[in-house]
Symmetry: C2
Subunit: 165 residues, 2 copies
């Protein structure tokens, strides 16, 4: 039988490389825009955007932010420290659980996001969406969302003690 378990067909290979190339080039372009217009790294943008746009209260626990955005907790402590020093978020002990820290976007943080979004969108339009029709975009989303869900549900196994939680 063919070695269906030890190699990829050429369509899989080119899909893999195209995915990584597109994401890498796009991240590069987007990081430049964020740095120039808001003095933000991509991770900082992710954190701020998540708090400002995805959270009804503008707040989240450190652990939940780390799970959603970043990989190590110390990395998140570092980034949250930078954002706090810049006045874009505040940190305070959680009300219910004294161990937890609740991170909250400040008004200044919301302003930075608002300031940065138009240029960000412009980069996305030029780099990512200009060769895609509306239907293409929908298809792309429909293909990738299940992959993301699968990856989040099935973290890379066989790696030491269970990752967290």
């Amino acid at each position: 039988m063919p070695d269906s378990s030890s190699s990829l067909d050429s369509e899989q290979l080119s899909a893999y490389f195209a995915l990584m190339d597109v994401a890498g080039l796009l991240k590069h372009a987007v990081e430049q825009q964020l740095r120039e217009e808001g003095d933000l790294s991509y991770v900082q943008f992710q954190l701020l955007a998540r708090l400002a746009l995805n959270s009804p209260t503008g707040s989240e626990r450190m652990t939940d932010l780390a799970d959603g955005v970043v990989y190590s907790r110390s990395g998140l402590t570092y980034q949250a420290g930078l954002l706090e020093k810049a006045g874009l978020v505040s940190r305070a002990p959680s009300a219910d659980d004294e161990r937890s820290v609740t991170v909250t976007v400040t008004d200044a943080g919301r302003e930075v996001i608002a300031r940065v979004i138009p240029g960000h969108v412009e980069v996305l339009r030029q780099q990512l969406f200009s060769p895609l029709s509306g239907a293409d975009t929908r298809r792309l989303r429909d293909l990738l969302v299940p992959v993301r869900d699968h990856m989040r549900a099935a973290p890379p196994r066989s790696a030491g003690p269970r990752r967290r939680r």
Copy 2:
């Protein structure tokens, strides 16, 4: 009129985030595998794979490698230096142009790639391809390849002097 130039519709937004999330998670998983099984970073894998698999001679000029894989030349010099120190590539002045340096994969370099590929493929199967049918994979490739071509053809403008070449 609607602000079609300053915002994205929700399908575009979720396609963007799904793309970045999938690529980020996948890169993370793949880097771990490459580090464990071949002591390679992702960039080093890209360089080695490009030389070993994509180049008939196993050689390329520094500049062409930098254009294809990495962004800054000094970054490539650094990575090529690491690979050379590990015995995975060799560097020599080009025959035709004394300014150029030709990088060549060594046998040891080819061995590392061969050793690392099966585990790499396994990660891709589990993380990326298991939720995708063959037709899905083809669609994904057909959507992303033109985007990559577009990005490569249209580098992020408005950024100082023309990038290179």
